[in-house]
């Protein structure tokens, strides 16, 4: 089933709200609440 236009619009909120979308974005709000990540190793 093809992706619905409404779904595409939902995934691109900055098209209709270039400023306010950040406050509603779940990823950015989570990052703001908890911006620290665990360490990792680099391998040669």
């Amino acid at each position: 089933m093809p992706i619905a236009d409404a779904e595409i619009m939902r995934q691109n909120p900055w098209w209709s709200d270039p400023i306010g979308w950040e406050q509603a974005d779940v990823h950015l709000t989570r990052l703001a609440a908890r911006p620290v990540c665990l360490p990792a190793e680099a391998v040669d």
């Binding site: 089933m1 093809p2 992706i3 911006p35 990792a40 680099a42």
Partner: protein, 175 residues
């Protein structure tokens, strides 16, 4: 911090740098699970049609591994003119000027690279616990003379030397 967050930070940065909102097209492909490859191309066409933008676009495809063999769908879009062709080689193969997808030499890992050259640096989101510096070197060969940022689960590497910097604060600052 995950890849989706990295992509949203890229969106925010592109907007703040003046890119037109409708020139930034994001699509999470997890909604297309179990869809035939042609469905991915159709989704991309719908995305660009709905955006209404013109000129250069920043196309961000998230959760690409949700679609099996998704690379071939994007390659098909390139071959059929949906995307503009560009003669470019990086690692085993590369895609259009505005959308770069790498498959490592071993074929086991798929790294997603997005960017709008030259305005945005090439970014590789690898989201892995460990960084293989040999593969990061391959990225630098793919973009000779261009800055390359490699993001892993928790660290961000920039240019040579690979000074280990926690990714989230630096991306936060860049945003």
């Amino acid at each position: 911090m995950g890849k989706s967050t990295d992509l949203k930070l890229l969106v925010r940065r592109a907007l703040r740098e003046g890119l037109a909102p409708r020139s930034i097209c994001y699509l999470s492909l997890d909604v297309l699970q179990d869809v035939a490859l042609a469905g991915v191309v159709d989704a991309f066409l719908s995305l660009t049609r709905l955006s209404g933008g013109s000129g250069r676009r920043l196309a961000l495809l998230d959760e690409v591994i949700a679609v099996r063999r998704w690379q071939f769908a994007v390659k098909h879009a390139w071959d059929t003119g949906v995307c503009e062709p560009a003669a470019r080689q990086a690692e085993t193969w590369a895609l259009p000027d505005r959308l770069h997808v790498w498959q490592t030499a071993g074929g086991g890992e798929v790294d997603f690279v997005c960017g709008l050259r030259p305005e945005l640096a090439a970014v590789e989101v690898r989201y892995q616990a460990r960084l293989d510096l040999r593969k990061a070197g391959g990225m630098k060969r793919g973009f000779p003379g261009r800055p390359v940022i490699v993001v892993t689960r928790d660290r961000l590497e920039w240019r040579s030397g690979y000074a280990l910097i926690p990714a989230s604060p630096l991306l936060w600052a860049l945003g």
